[in-house]
Symmetry: C2
Subunit: 486 residues, 2 copies
């Protein structure tokens, strides 16, 4: 039933949404609680990598959990789908609405509700920006360790809905490991209050972890209680040259033991990736003269009042040299030197963009299978596209390599990028053969729904469908994401 | 259809199980794979605390996952319930069979399939004994940190099915946090192969955590991949006298920060609990002359090659003295002194038994609410039973207090124990008011099914039922545990 509605302060807009539903939602949310303006919608309908374009004609901005619940109930009754959206920084089209679907954005629900320095917990609304949470923890001399590129704009609700990874996973785990409790609005508008601070609770099935990583298809996360940690007071950062990729694993195992599991980051990159960054990104300086096929950055941290981490890290490098795991290594002697190391690691994606086209993968394998992944993947890529320049780097301690490839030097960018899906299939086949995952960090969203069905154990797909059917039988919560239901 | 079957090496036994099903199961499993002998069944039908008596007439001992799957399929087709059982050390009747139900015990599936020192993982069959897993990790100079009283006989499958807690949770988390992957046989005999070693995997809903803690009501865990950690090379252990229970929380927060989160155990006990143990358990020596209402034991560990943990812990105690969080403290100077401290902590339950009747609770609250729980709980208990002697102790860092009470000195034991349910209700009411859990470590089993319904958010109960219905619509997997279905 197409309708014409007149939003406050806006011109008349035609929409295919049921007029009664739109009016009811507007009444619940008040004039600040929704928008149908084209420029506002354009921002929400744009997807980070421009792979998808949303078609929402209405975006809702609830002010509290009760309003989210009422929106869900009304949409459920009308049979209209709700698509939850956080900071809209995802990479897989998980927050993109089809025509006739309504976006619900939690930006107004951004409050930090409580920080408890004795519980080491913080309770926040789902729309809180990750960076604000990090800062609020720091204000209590505590650490919220989730750290990723989009932290200035992504919302914690989206981080939880996608079980975001990032840089500190080796020490503190994925987002899943940082959440104690959740409040969730279910498909029919029921509120599940699981906003628990408990460290131990064995009262029935683990609902919390069912909603974490479900990408808004089972419920809308409205608030969460997060784990905090002592804030590091010391750190030490090294850059090492590796004789090969197997050596990276030996070094990692050695460093885990000898630092007392104090590794905050363990980042691997190929010589090509390092050099590309140094040549493209201003002020980046080669950390080591020694030429090697692989380099790694290790950072260790400690919250002890006195802790000579430089000595600890020196000890690791000495043993690694003795064991033949590294060819050379250096420890940052100043914050400036440390910043240079991080600038290299973090500059790789930008350097790749400056170098031309890139084909990327978000994959993981068991840590011990990283060498096989790299070796087989490069071989296959070179077979498919002679001259292709592999640019692997990333979180080797999590088995999570950003297995990127830069275009051959003399190939037009468009011609190279036309291989995207074929090369993805090649790499995903290798990943699957190694017991790996085709989505390590970014989720399934809309992008990988078919890919998941292609690779997953059929028993798993049946279980996913059974859970979706149990929690959202009308399929009104973010339909078409994670799993194609009905 | 009652039947008479003749098990190998046993006399003829009448059973109410369908004869055809029994014959089919026997054919699948072979002569070593089942028993109907009374003395064998008696062992499996006995429950740790004698609160429940199982009535199984048949116990199955499958040799591999394929056999488990066939058993599940046959029982599913016949509409006969399967009750999974591990080491049968649970406290809540979770592995107890009703008449007409069949026990399935995984004792024969006890192999350690693989240990990978570079992945820091171990893959084992679900029937592996926890202590054997700990030892196998040690053989690789690694640690599997799950540690609890029953470790000599409990099976890892049962630990996972109940999300067991124990002593090291403050550092390494609950069993849930120690599992990377699972293999599970579903109600209809389908095998879900989720035996992953991945540290990052965002491909759909979190099936792993749904099965963990589900107490065998959603599937039968047949194998798992576990996380291992560097084995500690150093430790330091302190005993401190506390002016009050609030001080324990200040000390805990201080120690988390100043040890660099190296706390392996932080155990609180009342003066009564300490003294009871020292008076009843042979060779236990008073660690501190200072009399105080509360004592705590702190143990910190490190895998660094050199780490002066005694100095680290001394620093913590100095700052705690300055802050007024402790009255006195001592650090164990020898393994003998350390053993004495652990003997006191671990001797409390036995000392309570020697002292007479005890009423116990397995509860948790937010760490910051522990003082309120203790204060309100003691007041209420003394009101109900004048002269009752509170004996609280346990994992304060997890908010998990073993809130035990010893009988008044001059009350007959039976008269005291008759108050069990009333006192449970009192304490559980207080726990619920503080946002706590009525089952911190032991699960729901059969014991707390009604209690869970009484205290839980109705939305939660509906979700649990929806999940059970989705995964086990015929209710043939451990029916009547966790949730009463149909």
């Amino acid at each position: 039933m197409p309708s014409t509605v007149t939003p406050a302060g806006s011109s008349t807009i035609a929409t295919n949404l049921p007029a009664r539903l739109v009016a009811e939602l507007q009444a619940v949310l008040g004039p600040r609680g929704w928008s149908m303006e084209q420029d506002v919608l354009a921002k929400h309908n744009r997807e980070a990598r421009n792979k998808f374009t949303g078609m929402a004609e209405l975006v809702l901005y609830p002010a509290n959990t009760g309003e989210v619940a009422q929106c869900a109930r009304l949409c459920h009754e009308a049979g209209i789908a709700l698509v939850p959206q956080g900071g809209n920084t995802g990479r897989c089209g998980g927050a993109v609405a089809d025509p006739g679907q309504i976006l619900i954005n939690l930006a107004r629900m951004d409050k930090i509700l409580e920080t408890d320095a004795r519980d080491f917990t913080m309770t926040v609304q789902a729309g809180a920006i990750l960076h604000h949470i990090q800062q609020a923890a720091e204000d209590h001399d505590l650490l919220f360790p989730l750290s990723l590129g989009a932290q200035g704009s992504c919302q914690i609700g989206g981080n939880i809905a996608t079980n975001a990874g990032g840089l500190n996973v080796i020490r503190y785990g994925n987002t899943r490991d940082l959440v104690l409790g959740l409040e969730v609005v279910l498909a029919d508008g029921t509120v599940w209050n699981g906003l628990s601070k408990l460290r131990k609770d064995n009262t029935g099935y683990d609902l919390r972890d069912m909603f974490i990583g479900a990408e808004g298809t089972l419920g809308i996360i409205t608030a969460c209680t997060l784990k905090l940690f002592p804030r590091p007071r010391h750190l030490a950062t090294a850059w090492v040259a590796l004789p090969g990729i197997e050596a990276a694993l030996d070094l990692l195992a050695l460093a885990r033991r000898e630092t007392g599991d104090a590794i905050a980051a363990f980042e691997l990159m190929s010589q090509f990736a390092q050099d590309l960054c140094i040549s493209h990104i201003q002020n980046c300086i080669t950390p080591l003269e020694t030429r090697a096929p692989w380099y790694a950055m290790i950072e260790i941290t400690s919250s002890r009042p006195r802790d000579d981490l430089a000595s600890v890290l020196e000890g690791v490098l000495e043993r690694a040299l003795e064991g033949g795991f590294i060819l050379d290594g250096t420890i940052a002697q100043s914050e400036k030197q440390r910043a240079n190391l991080w600038a290299i690691r973090e500059g790789i994606p930008e350097a790749q963009t400056l170098e031309g086209g890139s084909i990327k993968h978000d994959v993981s394998v068991p840590v011990s299978a990283v060498p096989a992944l790299i070796e087989q993947g490069i071989k296959q890529a070179q077979k498919r596209i002679p001259g292709i320049r592999p640019c692997p780097f990333g979180h080797v301690g999590d088995g999570n390599i950003h297995f990127n490839f830069s275009q051959p030097e003399n190939m037009p960018k468009a011609e190279f990028l036309a291989h995207w899906e074929d090369l993805n299939r090649d790499i995903h086949d290798i990943v699957a053969g190694l017991g790996g995952s085709i989505s390590a960090e970014h989720g399934i969203g809309r992008l990988k729904v078919d890919e998941l069905v292609h690779y997953a154990d059929p028993a798993k797909i049946k279980l996913l469908a059974a859970i979706k059917q149990a929690l959202d039988p009308q399929n009104t919560l973010n339909p078409g994401k994670v799993i194609n239901h009905k």
